[in-house]
Symmetry: C3
């Protein structure tokens, strides 16, 4: 597969005459694919059953004639007004119990039977017409499933479907009562029909119920998407099907959602995401420092998640190429940012990077959002950066090799963790990013996988926050360690069973026999409330969360101790040999400590690592290493003799990115 560039475009947004000038310019810029159609339902079917194909016929022909390949989107993210007025119960209900109205997008309920039928109808019509067109090489289902809190609808139809889902899962109401622990607060049910939605309970709802509702809502969304892919495959043989996922998106299980797709894509908006996902503790400083590029690890983490879903190359379906309009602040990206983002994406496994969007919209919700072209068709700053990159992609390689280090991630742990944070400075993403950033600062390439996936290839396994651990997962990890892997377990792991109940034998549940420790007490620390751990001949400040560990196996070595704090037992960090590998348990949250602890394990596993200068990141794909300077200053990187420069800009330049072939 070649590495290629693409763009998102909307022929329906400008006049026919204006639009017809675009395909040739796209091709001239070096783009290969154009994604179109994903919001065009009202243009395709302006009235029930009345299809207007002409404009799309012409657009596809024009792109084809220009030598461009077409990715078609199904338009189901935006059911038209006539459909909503005919079937108002398509509309979803928000967490406050209010119907969410027509007038923007994603105004549908995944539990609406009417909407499934209507979606199948439009997808069938669209794929019947274009499924075998030679320009059409692939399909995107819908758009950004779940965006704007739409995974979960609190409607009566959602409740009905949820009851059915529960009945299928538990067979008997006794099973549900047992799993949810409904003996607590008299929550017992005699029948599935007695169950209500949890969004308006008097105080916090049952966390096992919330966990099941999240699973249900995830399943509904995935089944809906699968329904679309089946229709597409039936009518468009030989084309691939994908979906464009989102940044740090948490509301459905992406592992399951990826199963029925050929490959996955995601939408990469580095500056916008920084405003939303910078952690509260260090967030304001990060937001300022990385205002014009986003944070390297927030972007890279999402690349690694999406590469890991199917363990194969992915696309960036929407790549920011100028300012966005939807964040708290929307600054211009730095000069060089588009190059940096594009090469970073490729480095992390993207085969295609598709810019959003061709020309800035002049009307409606996104008129403050940029494109490759300005409102008047003149090239914007991003356009010029793309023009500089496009001719050089052929010099890069598409090989994708597994890394030696894997980080485990699981949406059910995320749900269980975040619905009961126990301290408002803690969160699943923050804890996972704490480990991911520490690895990336050490120059380590990381795969991200589900704990039940095949992990046999990895030398180092990092499990930052598997709040829920099943016995099967524990067995999977144990077999890897026995064969020689170094396993690192973070605090709050193995606290919960898949039902949402705690492991009665205490955390880390079934991981305790691997780690040789049990959690005696856990401690939630408000900002400013800290402790100290002595470890590896140094003293480290810990924050956010401490665990006091009880040693349950003779061969456990204590690496870090709460040397002076009577609140806790001695052990804060431990390690233990197991089979040909080892299991390390890190009961605290300390950035400096982690930066010293990880090298121990990496060294044991023979994984090269070296603390990088501030703001520098290295990513290796195949035989090429992408060195990235995410700072506004220049950085000097010492490279081994024999290093070959392939393409890129100088790292001495702000935001420079250089691709090297290191001597093997």
């Amino acid at each position: 597969m070649p590495l290629e560039l693409a763009v998102c475009d909307y022929p329906e947004h400008v006049s026919r005459a204006e639009w017809l000038t675009f395909p040739a310019r796209m091709k001239a810029l070096g783009l290969e694919y154009v994604r179109i159609g994903e919001f065009a339902w009202s243009k395709l079917e302006p009235r029930a059953g009345e299809f207007h194909w002409d404009w799309l016929d012409e657009a596809i022909e024009a792109l084809h004639a220009a030598g461009l390949k077409v990715v078609l989107g199904t338009p189901t993210a935006t059911p038209p007004a006539w459909l909503i007025r005919a079937h108002p119960d398509i509309l979803p209900v928000d967490v406050h119990g209010r119907v969410r109205e027509f007038g923007s997008r994603r105004h549908y309920d995944y539990s609406s039977d009417v909407y499934w039928r209507e979606s199948a109808r439009i997808v069938t019509a669209l794929t019947t017409r274009y499924g075998q067109h030679p320009a059409v090489v692939g399909w995107q289902t819908d758009n950004e499933h779940g965006c704007h809190d739409t995974t979960r609808s609190y409607s009566t139809q959602a409740l009905e479907k949820f009851r059915g889902w529960l009945e299928r899962k538990y067979s008997s109401i006794a099973g549900l009562n047992d799993a949810w622990g409904t003996a607590f607060w008299s929550q017992e049910y005699n029948d599935f029909s007695e169950i209500a939605l949890h969004n308006l309970t008097v105080t916090e709802p049952n966390p096992s119920q919330v966990l099941d509702f999240n699973r249900f809502a995830s399943d509904q969304l995935i089944a809906y998407d699968r329904m679309q892919t089946e229709i597409i495959r039936a009518h468009s043989p030989g084309r691939w099907v994908t979906h464009n996922f989102m940044i740090f998106f948490a509301d459905f299980d992406h592992y399951k959602a990826a199963e029925h797709l050929d490959f996955v894509t995601w939408d990469n908006y580095p500056t916008g995401m920084l405003e939303f996902f910078a952690p509260p503790s260090t967030g304001e400083a990060l937001k300022l420092e990385f205002a014009r590029t986003g944070h390297p690890d927030f972007v890279a983490f999402n690349h690694d998640i999406y590469r890991g879903l199917k363990q194969k190359p992915f696309w960036v379906m929407e790549q920011q190429c100028g300012q966005v309009n939807w964040s708290t602040y929307n600054p211009l990206p730095a000069n060089g940012a588009v190059k940096l983002w594009t090469l970073q994406a490729i480095a992390h496994g993207a085969d295609v990077v598709s810019y959003f969007r061709w020309q800035a919209a002049r009307e409606a919700q996104e008129l403050y959002h940029s494109g490759l072209l300005r409102f008047d068709g003149t090239p914007d700053r991003g356009h010029n950066e793309v023009a500089a990159i496009a001719p050089k992609l052929a010099l890069l390689e598409d090989a994708l090799l597994p890394n030696k280090v894997v980080l485990l991630h699981d949406y059910e742990s995320l749900w269980a963790y975040d619905v009961q944070k126990h301290g408002q400075n803690a969160s699943y993403w923050a804890q996972v990013m704490h480990y991911y950033t520490a690895l990336r600062e050490l120059g380590v390439d990381v795969d991200i996988k589900h704990p039940m996936s095949d992990l046999s290839a990895y030398s180092v396994i990092v499990a930052p926050a598997l709040n829920i651990v099943s016995t099967d997962e524990a067995a999977n990890l144990e077999s890897c360690v026995q064969r020689g892997a170094q396993l690192l377990i973070g605090c709050r792991s193995g606290f919960r069973q898949p039902t949402g109940a705690v492991w009665a034998a205490r955390a880390p549940g079934p991981l305790a026999v691997l780690a040789g420790v049990k959690v005696k007490n856990f401690d939630s620390l408000r900002p400013g409330l800290t402790s100290r751990v002595e470890a590896l001949d140094m003293s480290f400040e810990t924050h956010t969360w401490n665990e006091s560990l009880e040693i349950i196996s003779d061969d456990v070595q204590i690496l870090g101790t709460y040397f002076s704090d009577p609140l806790y037992d001695e052990a804060a960090v431990t390690t233990r040999p197991l089979g040909a590998g080892s299991v390390t348990y890190n009961g605290v949250w300390s950035d400096q400590l982690l930066r010293r602890l990880l090298p121990l394990m990496l060294s044991r596993a023979g994984v090269a690592h070296d603390l990088l200068p501030h703001g520098v990141r290295l990513t290796t794909r195949g035989t090429l290493t992408y060195a990235q300077n995410w700072t506004r200053g220049g950085v000097a990187l010492e490279l081994p003799a024999g290093t070959e420069f392939v393409i890129g800009t100088n790292l001495l330049e702000p935001y420079g990115v250089s691709v090297y072939r290191l001597p093997q």
Copy 2:
């Protein structure tokens, strides 16, 4: 017209015996007018059709007998309980879709036909009875239209009326689709009946729809008010009709709302407004420094807006004369504040200042609000300040001359700007006040007008934030410049068309040919993210918003450059001669730069200016200059020889105000 004082009073709040002692005391204090009746519906008509006039008859007679003139308010801001229970659909619906209940005030929907009918009925009854009473000199319609977010109701009757309004505006649904850009996100409509309200959309609504809804809601309110004025004029010949507007009020178009009134009034609460309208960036410091007087420019700006609506003297219908009860904090005004506010109001064009209220309310919602009298009828601090001013007003003059500098303001630009701020530190009012304050710090008197008004008299035209600019407005401005005016345009101007769509040729749209520049990129800057501009031989820090300018005319002179920032093209601030005048474009937000840029233009236009000491303001009305010290310290002002002191207190006193006649 003499300059006079007045007061708001509520005979229905105290016993008859107590109240009958008031008129003589009012007169003795030097008051000339008393406003009464504006919340008294339930006292006038305690049951449907059962009118009790006796108490109001007596009150009017007593005021008349004391030599006071009466301003009567229509009581429609407070429909009584019996009316609401009979017609619950009078109640408005809030932005969350909840019915807003009886129990406070303004509980009616401007789109309720029933309420129009009932309002007409009570206004007819009231004006029939008192329209020709010799004491009654004028009328106030309703009270503070739109207060408490009541301009916009999200009821089904509002939706019905909105659909009708749209149909009248666009004739065909195709016209609406085109104006709103509904091709975006499949928002197209086949029929006006398909349109829903935008308050509960899944994500942000269509900004053109919001713009039209704001226009519609504004039109509804104005038509309702006009209906009242027509009834009043029919029954009360020879009396004037006004309405009391509010501080920085943004929800309806006050230019249109003023058309059918004889003159306008507004309600001036300087300390309360400071808590709400101080800009986020500098707000806490301002709130502390000016806690006991309010900020001079926030008050003055509102005076200038309301003088500008009809370009004639106005009243302050409610003037704070002690602490208020409705703000976040409600401190006592400083000693001297009531004098300062009263003379400032006159300086800016008020002919009458009416204090709120005579005696503090002992019951219900406002019992923490002060009046001229305390609860027990003893004179409060404000009373004593009024007593000191009243006898001296005759020494002032009422002449009102147009100023040389005009600042352009437009409610549609405000709506377009604020619904899509693009950075949460930006807002229309903040940007406008940025320019207004800079002018006032230079001692310049400013008129405020709509961009379509007759601007031919002005030497300097400042357009801080005309986000929407029509071709007609551009033509109006161009003709002024051609005749010799100096025009200054602020960033974000001319970005949008009246439909809400952007100008495809880029900002400043139809102003580009005047300014000789086009905006290449705009940049939203979070707090702390700054840039530097070199201009006028100095270097300035910019914040909040930067624009990169493209020069499109040879005669443009670059005044300010982003000399070291590769993000931007060179030009940040430009000027260009045009006809007998000039057009300056300021693409950045920098307080210091503006304080240096404005003098350039003022000097070209021959407008005197001089940077005033901190906290000092000068305002000229006719031949008198009102020097105001808004600080808790004394200030020394150098005055030309021959300056005559007219009235006032010493500027060396905290909060002193001196009225001078400067040598001509």
Copy 3:
């Protein structure tokens, strides 16, 4: 009565086999009572009319057999799902008008007739079965009435009942109109049926209406609870009945609620409450300093409130003994905290301290909450502290003598104050705690009582914030002063009448003739806006609230003056001899001034006092003095010769607590 320990337990949460091991362990730990059953409705009556007593029979027998006494809770805080589905109108309505759903707890409306009937039915069944069981020594009604904002429901049935309550109170609608001051804003009613709930008014509702609604809701709750106690008493002769109240709970009148109980209990969670009740101004520092113990005075104040309700010993029904799960942050308590809290409770009048809970819950909402045992039944840290205390309680004494100082507290003043704070940094609890803490820092023991209670025994009466004062209350206070008491009145006192209207003669209303002052002006100060008062030969900074005082009696001595502030009259703090006592009025808010003012009065009254070291508190019960070190360092306390150490830990230890018998 011996001093004893107890625990809360849930036999229904674990298996029968596991649970049967508990009673012997409880007894072995030194516990005497076990509270059970208060959330077990669905276990007792899984389907309408189908009772399952077997498990509870067995549990009570097992506890009895182990020598433990049983406290049974009525399970009405958690109506089961089958009941809610059969009668959905049991569900309450929240302040936004939304039905609050089943799925947590307290999902019932105190105004539901159906729920009263059903509650009576289950309480009858439960008490019929167990009312005379020898192990059952007492009853707890429901659980934490009003928790989660459930005192007030905004349902149509609540409205109906409220109208009836008003009709009974006022007889005629004229009386209501007069009391509420409905002449303001045309709020007059012709009939009780016209009255609506105030939760969705357009702007702030009528404060007198809110006051009456709060009274009504309080009365409903109390009548509901009384209904339960009557059934219990009928079926369980010789047993006591209590209820477990909450920390700083403000939504109902606890004085009235305690009347029908034998004694009161409350639920003491020191670390959790600190997060919620630390005042905004100093809160973050307090939250950090006292993160692991809570603040001594927040805890002690609640002890003193609950002791004061019936002026007799109370229980702590739920005592935190490890981390909680429901606060913003949930740290581990310090080593020693459980001892400290237990002895503090006894010192302040608790006869029994009952820990929450025996074993940590493994499922559902509270699985992050600790117990005496961990999830796996091993003893947690709290368990070990209890084991150390239990054997020593017999050395303490249960005598309870009245103190010499009383602080007056009244829920109606709280409601009136907090619904109109006039400055968001002020609140009733903050103002009351300001005085309470100053007294406790001086080592003074304080009783807390209602202003209408018998106060004749007190030498010093402190009335920090009686915002509403009736003439009867003033008379009660005057008689105490005449007989020799020193009375201290805080600012904002006597501002309102019981109707909610102000006292027309100005604050402090009927207290003015006692204090010899009237409030001329009151001033709300935002953070940073301060003034200075010269008093007692020092200068003090004041904040939050200042009052300017007018002297109305010749014998008033001015203690503190606004010496340099022209805003105010001279007097800020005054005192006046009256009868055999004195009346002091403190018009300002100043921590340092209060610390100097109180000793004046204490000395006059012959009450010993001495400023304690930071973080140290002394409490005397009977002849024993409990010295408490709430700091993480050691403290040295100078004690008189002859002091006898009774039990405890060394004050030189962090969080040490020593019980002494001082020489008499």
